[in-house]
């Protein structure tokens, strides 16, 4: 039985002939109502709708309730639930070993912004082809609700403890550091999240999605800025995100100008309708400024903040050969006797 109910009809098959049930995972052991479960559902929907073969997906993750979630979707994909805060390095190694795979990295706000911020920073710089999802609830769920580094200044724990350190804005960071597809969504916003995930899957570079995902057990109360209620009140979309996969025909367009039409690597198209005319999702400086301002205005911006489909990704920088390194035959990876002889001669 599917771990996570999805909005899909279980009989219907996608373009590669799989039903949504073939994207299911194990039964969730997360709390009922946990935002992470909703994200798992959207991932299943997105992979299903995009017709991605589960065997072609890897799911590296760190440690935390969020990092456990890969066990609850797509059991037919390989998962690696590693150590706390170090998912980026595991993912990097795996993608280098086999760049044909689609890497879906799942992390939490503690896993990424607290212990893991170092590896996060350097992953972003490399523009590694990966979809990096932060299931962001502002607390350490699995260790029972201490503040993480994305907790907003002034936010309160159930215990009454107040956070007086500024939150790390992982989106600003990602944009500044070199990620090429950066956005924020909310586990409760099915449509936006699903659309962003589908576009993200089509992107061949580092996608960083910060998904606000309320922790119903430890951080969904009054005084929390990561609660369902707070999101309902402060969610401020900056772009209206639409996506047309390569395999679908283009539907009626918007008026030119008001929409930024980005053609993704696989030919699919991301259509961003700006909700603020002076905003430009292709300009880092503008994006950074707007995000910085949103803090003062205590609004939580959502949508795709920044996208760049031109920058070379890490695989291209390394000029990797077409076939995955993991399966190169001996004839390719072990030079011949004459090479060793030549090397020896040079050392005589």
């Amino acid at each position: 039985m599917a771990s996570t109910p999805t909005s899909q009809n279980p009989q219907k098959t996608n373009r590669i002939g799989l039903t949504v049930l073939e994207y299911k995972g194990g039964k969730t052991t997360l709390c009922a109502g946990c935002g992470h479960n909703a994200i798992s559902e959207r991932i299943i929907d997105a992979m299903y709708e995009m017709g991605i073969k589960p065997e072609q997906v890897i799911k590296p993750s760190g440690i935390g309730c969020s990092s456990k979630s890969p066990a609850y979707f797509m059991s037919r994909s390989h998962s690696f639930n590693g150590v706390h805060g170090r998912m980026p390095s595991l993912a990097t190694g795996a993608v280098l070993a086999n760049h044909k795979l689609i890497a879906l990295g799942v992390s939490g706000d503690g896993d990424t912004a607290s212990i893991g911020i170092g590896q996060f920073v350097h992953l972003m710089r490399r523009n590694l082809p990966i979809l990096y999802i932060i299931e962001d609830n502002g607390v350490y769920g699995l260790t029972k609700g201490q503040f993480s580094a994305t907790a907003d200044i002034g936010s309160k724990l159930k215990t009454g403890v107040v956070n007086d350190l500024p939150a790390i804005d992982t989106c600003s960071l990602a944009i500044m550091l070199g990620a090429t597809f950066v956005g924020r969504s909310f586990s409760g916003d099915k449509k936006q999240l699903l659309t962003m995930l589908k576009a993200a899957i089509a992107h061949k570079g580092t996608v960083m999605l910060d998904v606000i995902s309320p922790c119903v057990t430890f951080n969904d109360h009054e005084g929390s800025t990561k609660s369902y209620k707070f999101m309902k009140d402060h969610d401020e979309p900056i772009t209206d995100v639409n996506f047309v996969p390569a395999f679908e025909e283009i539907e009626a367009d918007y008026e030119p100008g008001e929409v930024l039409d980005v053609t993704m690597h696989d030919g699919s198209r991301l259509k961003l309708r700006k909700l603020e005319d002076d905003y430009d999702p292709t300009n880092k400086a503008v994006a950074l400024k707007r995000l910085a301002e949103s803090k003062e205005r205590d609004e939580i911006l959502t949508g795709v903040f920044y996208v760049d489909t031109k920058a070379p990704n890490f695989i291209e920088m390394l000029n990797l050969t077409e076939a995955p390194l993991a399966i190169l035959p001996e004839s390719v990876v072990r030079p011949g006797r004459e090479v060793l002889e030549k090397c020896m001669e040079e050392l005589r």
């Binding site: 150590v83 170092g118 990797l320 390719v332």
Partner: protein
């Protein structure tokens, strides 16, 4: 160069005393950043080309320029290439240390020095060869920038003349050193010649040391251990390399990059490898583990501090059972310690690295050829046993130049271990990742991307059952940990066996890694000077194989010689073998950063055995002497 050649004869004649041929150590005392490295390499190669066994060791400081550096070259007809404490021929180029350097010499040694330093006034019992560098340099170049470098090549010429090095070989060595840059080569050859002729015309040979052509090096190569490891890794089929710079391991990866760029670019002009300079060692090893999980032959190289940072991830790889190769080019710890000095101080910490119950495979090379072989073997073992493998090299082996027979091309085809294909999974109708199907403790794995609905398993560092599913059940945990331990038992049949020389003597010596070279020489000293015959076992891997247990059993006493403070190898032996064997073990453990020398070992052993020098050089009895505990 006819002049030169006759000159050397003359000089030779002049010297009265008994000649000491092909048995000397030269020390060049200089400062780092002064470019003396190429001059020293030329000296080394010249002797090498003359067919005389030789080794060079660079003793450098942990900074970039201006601090004292000593380069020692040892030429020895018997092939002894361990460090020798005594300096026979000092080339004093560093005013800051010259005094101390000269005072430390044994009587009879020779000193080549810059005349203005007046070192000759310091002692009467040495031979002094003054050199007027400034004057000589001026005759070679007027370019101020080149002066320092020229000065270095001049001492090569002077020493060459005094020691009897063959000029054509000097020129050949210079040619090789400056292969790319023709003008530089000429300039340097000229400088050497100036020094050579100066010596011929103005110096009088008064020391007994000579280098004379032999034929001990036919076909041999000269290479440092890190380069040898790099070559091995390339022929071992490495596909993912990650590193974070740290002395003394950096040159391993830097050399590997050069080799890969030259020999591992496919016909499509694309790389069949990925090299990443990681942000730190946690990331470096994390990438290796991620790559190993996904099917690459992945490795990283580091030293002590990096190893400590890899502790958590190493435990993950051990428990999730992911192949990973980690080179530890050991330097002196704890902490930053002496970053440019050698040690064998990480043996114990690596064997049990990470919290909880863990045990890791270690390979311990003693020579550059073993660096090459073990670089390949490490991948084979890591993939066969699905576990991290540490290769325990050290600074002395990794960064110094060593003579060696040419490396042998790997005959064994690459084996990726127990990996199931989509077809296998189909045939088996699924699989259990952590099940001991074959009774050797090793399970079967699939690689991500294997195109079968049942190919995937969930890799996790938390408790799991045979299928890799999350489990907190006591029985699942216990069974799984017992199976992992069984892999370690199985490995005893697979790791490189020790090298044993056993003639049935009572006294045994057990050593490993670069300590080997001091033992070879020390055993001869023990025999010739004290009549003490010893047997010898060189450990090359952990887990320990039965040969090691047998060796200890067969001997009355076994000296375990190593370069650390706490007798780490001896402690490992105590843990792994029955107590009655421990009774026989005696520790000889020191750490000060200099490669261990034979004399110290010999002195300590005879001290413990309470034997006296053998008059006629043979007192077999001593071998049976009661020894001190």
């Amino acid at each position: 160069m006819a002049i030169g050649e006759t000159a050397v004869q003359d000089l030779a004649k002049e010297s009265g005393q008994k000649r000491i041929v092909n048995d000397l150590s030269i020390q060049v005392a200089t400062v780092n950043g002064s470019g003396s490295q190429s001059a020293n390499t030329v000296l080394l190669r010249t002797i090498f080309q003359m067919g005389v066994p030789v080794s060079g060791k660079n003793l450098f400081p942990s900074n970039i320029a201006g601090l004292p550096t000593w380069y020692t070259i040892r030429a020895n007809k018997n092939g002894y290439i361990a460090r020798k404490k005594e300096i026979d021929f000092l080339i004093a180029m560093n005013p800051e240390t010259a005094r101390e350097d000269v005072l430390a010499l044994a009587p009879g040694s020779a000193v080549l020095y810059d005349e203005p330093l007046n070192l000759n006034t310091l002692r009467q019992d040495l031979t002094f060869y003054p050199v007027l560098y400034d004057k000589l340099v001026a005759s070679v170049t007027t370019d101020a920038k080149l002066r320092k470098l020229i000065k270095n090549m001049i001492y090569v010429g002077v020493a060459g003349q005094v020691l009897g090095l063959e000029v054509p070989e000097i020129e050949k060595a210079i040619g090789k050193q400056f292969a790319a840059k023709k003008k530089a080569a000429e300039l340097n050859i000229n400088a050497a010649r100036v020094g050579y002729e100066y010596a011929a015309s103005s110096l009088t040979k008064a020391d007994p040391y000579y280098v004379q052509r032999m034929d001990a090096n036919r076909g041999k190569i000269i290479i440092d251990g890190n380069s040898a490891a790099a070559l091995g890794a390339m022929f071992g089929g490495v596909t993912v390399v990650t590193w974070y710079p740290i002395t003394p391991s950096s040159s391993l990866c830097e050399t590997l990059i050069d080799y890969l760029k030259e020999y591992r670019i496919g016909p499509d002009g694309k790389a069949t490898f990925a090299v990443v300079q990681a942000e730190d060692e946690l990331a470096a090893v994390g990438m290796v583990i991620g790559a190993g999980w996904a099917g690459a032959r992945a490795m990283t190289a580091t030293s002590g501090p990096g190893i400590s940072l890899m502790a958590e991830f190493t435990g993950l790889a051990y428990y999730v059972e992911v192949p990973a190769v980690i080179w530890d080019i050991q330097r002196v710890g704890p902490s930053t310690g002496l970053p440019t000095r050698t040690s064998q101080g990480d043996i114990l910490s690596n064997a049990y690295l990470s919290h909880g119950d863990t045990k890791h495979l270690l390979l311990i090379p003693a020579s550059v050829s073993e660096c090459f072989d073990f670089a390949i073997e490490a991948f084979e073992l890591a993939e066969r046993f699905q576990t991290p493998v540490f290769v325990m090299s050290d600074l002395d082996l990794g960064m110094n130049n060593w003579m060696s027979d040419p490396f042998e091309y790997p005959e064994k085809p690459i084996s990726r271990g127990k990996v199931l294909s989509a077809e296998d999974v189909e045939r088996l109708g699924g699989f259990s990742r952590y099940k001991d199907v074959d009774g050797d403790g090793i399970g079967y794995r699939t690689l991500p991307g294997t195109d079968h609905p049942q190919a995937a398993y969930f890799a996790r560092g938390s408790g799991h059952n045979e299928k890799g599913q999350y489990s907190e059940r006591p029985d699942d945990f216990e069974r799984n940990m017992a199976r992992i331990r069984k892999k370690f038992e199985t490995a005893k049949q697979a790791v490189p066996k020790p090298v044993v020389e056993d003639a049935g003597n009572k006294v045994g010596i057990l050593a490993y890694g670069t300590t080997h070279w001091a033992i070879v020489e020390s055993r001869d000293q023990l025999r010739e000077e004290y009549g003490v015959e010893t047997d010898y076992l060189r450990v090359r891997a952990f887990p320990f194989t039965e040969e090691i247990e047998d060796f200890i059993r067969r001997h009355e006493v076994v000296f375990v010689v190593e370069q650390n403070r706490d007798a780490q190898m001896l402690n490992l032996l105590k843990i792994e073998f029955p107590a009655e064997l421990s009774l026989k073990l005696r520790s000889i453990a020191h750490i000060h950063g200099l490669p261990i020398d034979a004399r110290s070992v010999t002195d300590e052993i005879v001290g413990r055995l309470e034997v006296k020098p053998a008059p006629a050089g043979k007192a077999k009895a001593a071998g049976r002497a009661q020894e001190q505990r």
